[in-house]
Subunit: 373 residues, 2 copies
């Protein structure tokens, strides 16, 4: 292993698609790619503990600099020994900047070339994020991978507005590079450009000149439909450096993951498995089920007979439905264990097919049928 | 082991107090007494799963016939193979009748000698509980120990009102005995009588004539102060058959457990450790702490340095405080694991002192200091 905070090796390329089978070496261990990263916004994957994360074989999770900056504060986390020690999690962590969350505040924010001012969603107190402050915040948190501050316009933004955001993001990327102090953290750049291929191309070309350890496709999953996402990801991924990990932010359904891998994406995150778990939607090999539905009332079946997670090994749908309808907080964790296992198992299956070079996205999507949604 | 659903052996009696060191043999394993039973009202100890219960070494938990009758319905549970199989819990279960919950409905109930009619707290639909229906419900659920339906008047009820409740409870006890069909379940009788020693004595004498496998002191923890509870428990426990387990329902603080053991009680249950966990109150060797308090913001200490539960082995107060203030659902489980461990560890310590015949309630309470509250 090199002394760099991140090294990435591609040891198999798919003959039918642009998919890559790779391996990330990070400070907290090896991550086989393509990988899905469970979301743990507030220094916790909702309802799970670090043993649960080990059990479902999560190798890298996401957290959010914006949320932690506001509560408990990045200096607090630094004083507690950094994010890994604070959470007692010894796997890898990627922190998103949280710029996406700030841009979605709308009323509460003021954007300038310097950065973005906003009022906390908790108590209205004023904060400012600049490329430099986000470096400091994330260097306080000390994840294995940190994301630069970018400007993320909404999906319906017109060409000239997106063009301005792209230019600004490039300037912010250079300020990110200049502001870094720690040498043990990897940094990812983010390519914006909305649904405009000329802007995506221009931004990818500008960003790939800068010293980042990996690159993300940003500004996706902000309101587009599946076809638009697929088109932009297929267009943008090949523009990113071949020898560095590619991360598709905030995507998506199981089918989106398969399509993303086929386009050459190595890393994914999405709140869908964790959020759907809470809301009673469970992923299965036959498509999503709504656990509160009366059809599960007497079901002795596990959520998914093909799944070997603790929840599926142990409990009937009837019992999970009871916990859900009775408002039992324990439901939340059992559902989350399953939904994340479903996502992580899908990625393991994709990796296995890539190992054997049998990965065929169209066939896989066909076989998944409703389970892709 | 005998063919009876319950056998109880006292193998050491305390020389300083009325405490007993015993062993219960039940259908789902041995329970060393005195024991505390975590409360799992709706077929789940809130936030925990069966592995968690095994980890904290809970040997018997409580559930509630009234709650399960209303949701998901006792026939549903029976069709799922009974309560143990429904929950996938292979330890012992005691079901309370839930009469206590029904009597606390006040506006929604109508009491007669036949039983009690009430409207569901969920949807207002009409239910009736009789001694016979409660036998049927609990024989559907199939716990290791079931509680008879009793009438539980409030703490401030006058002598003549309590006297009527006592008489009715005795008549209901006889109907309970007559209605039983299953031979593999143990049944406990309940002694009422409020704060009146003459009524407690009369009721204990009436109840001990009936074929129950154990006896509970009921009608305590319905609004009395500690002195009143202590007085009634000390008075009532010795009136119960010496060779059968004695259960003090719904009690109490750590100190209440020590005092209860000294009075000759073998089994306890209380929502306090689980409810306090949710509300941010954690038990420690130095007394309860309120985790949201600012003093814990930077604390690297575990909740209780003397505790070896997963939560205390793993997390700092600072992190638990963060989870609590951030509204993270995972806090709930970590706090519950600790509070129940605190209670179960206290009982283990009491048993150990009884084994050595060093148990001295006054000394123990003195040494516990604020931890008794």
């Amino acid at each position: 292993m090199s002394d760099r905070p991140l090294s990435f090796e591609i040891y198999r390329e798919s003959s039918r698609t642009k998919a890559r089978r790779g391996r990330l070496r990070l400070r907290h261990g090896i991550v086989d790619t393509p990988i899905f990263m469970p979301v743990g916004t507030q220094a916790a994957v909702k309802s799970l503990d670090p043993r649960d994360l080990a059990e479902i074989q999560a190798r890298i999770i996401l957290s959010n600099a914006y949320h932690l900056m506001i509560r408990p504060g990045s200096k607090q986390v630094a004083a507690r020994g950094g994010l890994h020690r604070f959470m007692r999690y010894d796997g890898n962590i990627l922190t998103d900047s949280g710029g996406f969350q700030v841009f979605s505040l709308k009323e509460l924010r003021r954007l300038s070339d310097d950065g973005v001012e906003f009022r906390s969603h908790l108590d209205g107190s004023l904060f400012k994020m600049t490329p430099e402050s986000l470096v400091e915040v994330q260097e306080d948190l000390g994840p294995d991978i940190a994301m630069m501050l970018d400007e993320c316009p909404p999906a319906q933004a017109p060409h000239d507005e997106v063009a301005i955001a792209v230019e600004r993001t490039t300037r912010w990327a250079k300020r990110n590079v200049a502001a870094r102090r720690r040498e043990d953290m990897a940094w990812f750049g983010i390519v914006q450009g909305g649904l405009f291929e000329d802007l995506r191309q221009g931004h990818a070309e500008a960003m790939r000149e800068l010293p980042f350890d990996g690159f993300a496709v940003g500004g996706v999953s902000v309101g587009e439909n599946t076809e638009e996402i697929t088109r932009i990801v297929k267009f943008t991924a090949p523009l990113l450096p071949r020898d560095k990990p590619r991360y598709l932010m905030g995507v998506g359904t199981p089918g989106d993951l398969v399509r993303g891998v086929a386009a050459g994406i190595d890393m994914f995150d999405c709140v869908m498995p964790t959020r759907n778990a809470r809301n009673g939607q469970l992923f299965t090999s036959n498509g999503r089920i709504v656990i509160k539905n009366a059809e599960h009332r007497e079901s002795e079946q596990p959520v998914d007979a093909q799944c070997s997670c603790y929840t599926c090994r142990t409990f009937s749908r009837a019992y999970l439905r009871h916990l859900y309808t009775a408002g039992e907080v324990g439901y939340h964790r059992l559902a989350t264990l399953h939904n994340l296992s479903f996502y992580l198992n899908l990625m393991a299956k994709i990796r296995s097919e890539l190992d054997m070079d049998t990965f065929d996205a169209e066939r896989m999507l066909r076989e998944m049928g409703p389970a892709a949604e």
